[in-house]
């Protein structure tokens, strides 16, 4: 299981995320053109960035492209990361998520439009998540927190976050009145935030 093999830079993967200030520091050094720091940042975050891209776009080759675009964006805009507004990890994931969502929306294949297909495939399958995630304490905490949401909140968030659907589309898929899915997504995220102890 190379998943648990320590990274060359000494950042164990899969186990708790590298402390935020370490990532922030790597980002700051990247902004000054330090490629070594960026390589360390990559090693500490690539499984999460690639995993998210893969989850959203599904196709491994496309996920690789999306993750690559995301990392290049991170490199280019590293000077614009503002630690007052959130963690470095969240900043990276936000960039990757946006790119992945843009990709699925622009490449909208007819199969993705088929809601019955989507419904069968979109919800988090707790049995087939990656080894890395299984090993991660953080992932476990997140999963526990997700279980604490109402079914509708969880489904709405998963369809939005992993499915790349707009709240209007989520409403359609879940047969909710238009305009209510955004409330479910917001309520669910607030609950998740509070359970995970994210500071606002």
């Amino acid at each position: 299981m190379n998943r648990l093999t320590p990274e060359p830079v000494g950042t164990p993967r899969g186990v708790p995320a590298a402390p935020g200030d370490v990532l922030s520091d790597l980002l700051r050094r990247s902004a000054r053109g330090d490629q070594q720091a960026f390589a360390q940042l990559y090693d500490a975050t690539s499984s999460r960035v690639f995993g998210l891209a893969l989850r959203v776009v599904r196709d491994p080759a496309q996920a690789e492209e999306v993750a690559q675009e995301a990392f290049l964006e991170v490199w280019k805009t590293s000077s614009r990361f503002d630690s007052d507004r959130g963690s470095a990890m969240s900043w990276l994931m936000t960039i990757c998520h946006r790119k992945a969502v843009d990709r699925v929306r622009s490449a909208e294949a007819s199969t993705r439009r088929d809601t019955s297909y989507t419904q069968q495939n979109q919800t988090i399958d707790h049995d087939v998540t990656a080894d890395a995630a299984q090993a991660s304490m953080e992932a476990r905490r997140v999963r526990d927190a997700l279980i604490g949401l109402t079914d509708v909140q969880r489904e709405a968030i998963e369809l939005a976050y992993f499915g790349g659907y707009t709240h209007t589309e989520v409403a359609g898929i879940l047969n909710l009145p238009v305009g209510t899915a955004k409330t479910r997504i917001r309520d669910g995220l607030i609950r998740l935030r509070d359970k995970m102890g994210v500071h606002s």
Partner: protein
Amino acid sequence: MSVDIHALSGAYAVDAVDEFERAQFERHLSDCASCRAEVDSLREAGSLIAETSAVEAPDSLRASVLAGIQNVRPLPPVVVAAAEAGRSTRRRFPALVAAAVALIAIGGAGATVLDLAGDDSRGTEVAQVELTATDRILRASDAERVQQKLPGGGTATVVRSKTLHQAVILTEDMPAAPSLHTYELWLQRDGKMIPAGQIAGGTNTVLLDGDAASADAVGITVELAGEQPTEPSDKIVDVIGFETA
């Protein structure tokens, strides 16, 4: 403006908004500190969900990323006025809005202005683009928006700016018109239907012809191709009414 735009914070934080909503919400964010803080915290929460999907990245990705950065230098920090320095990036929005407004005022129609939407709202790069008539309507401060599922499938969204006297229709997945027919657009004013252009099936954005400021509704009908109808046929796809203020 939507009744409760604050409620979009969660959907916006996880990119579950369409382009119009994104533009509107970012405009709102520029002067709503509590929404900015909420979006930041919900993004933080949202990105935790990705913890559950971590997967070992292929070695080829590492190689291509590290090769890719050789050819690009990091951008300099966003230049902000001295008084703004050190404050959050989100707070520079009002300044940019003011700058864009000034440019519009100087340049008039078709002027090159700063694009506030950027390609991602965090690492926002200020791109220079031509603001089209459609963009101006979508971003207008008085933009009203009505969205409706079409009875025959797909959705239509009508956005109108009374101050600009114009409206735009954005369709998604509208079935193609029957063969030898087209979709005609109409503006309804005082019970009369005025031709306002045509639209194809599928996903499209069309600027409606005519003054939309006083229109009550936008209609879509099926008409024979090649004709220029002055009266709508009885094959009405949908009528999308503006909310009366």
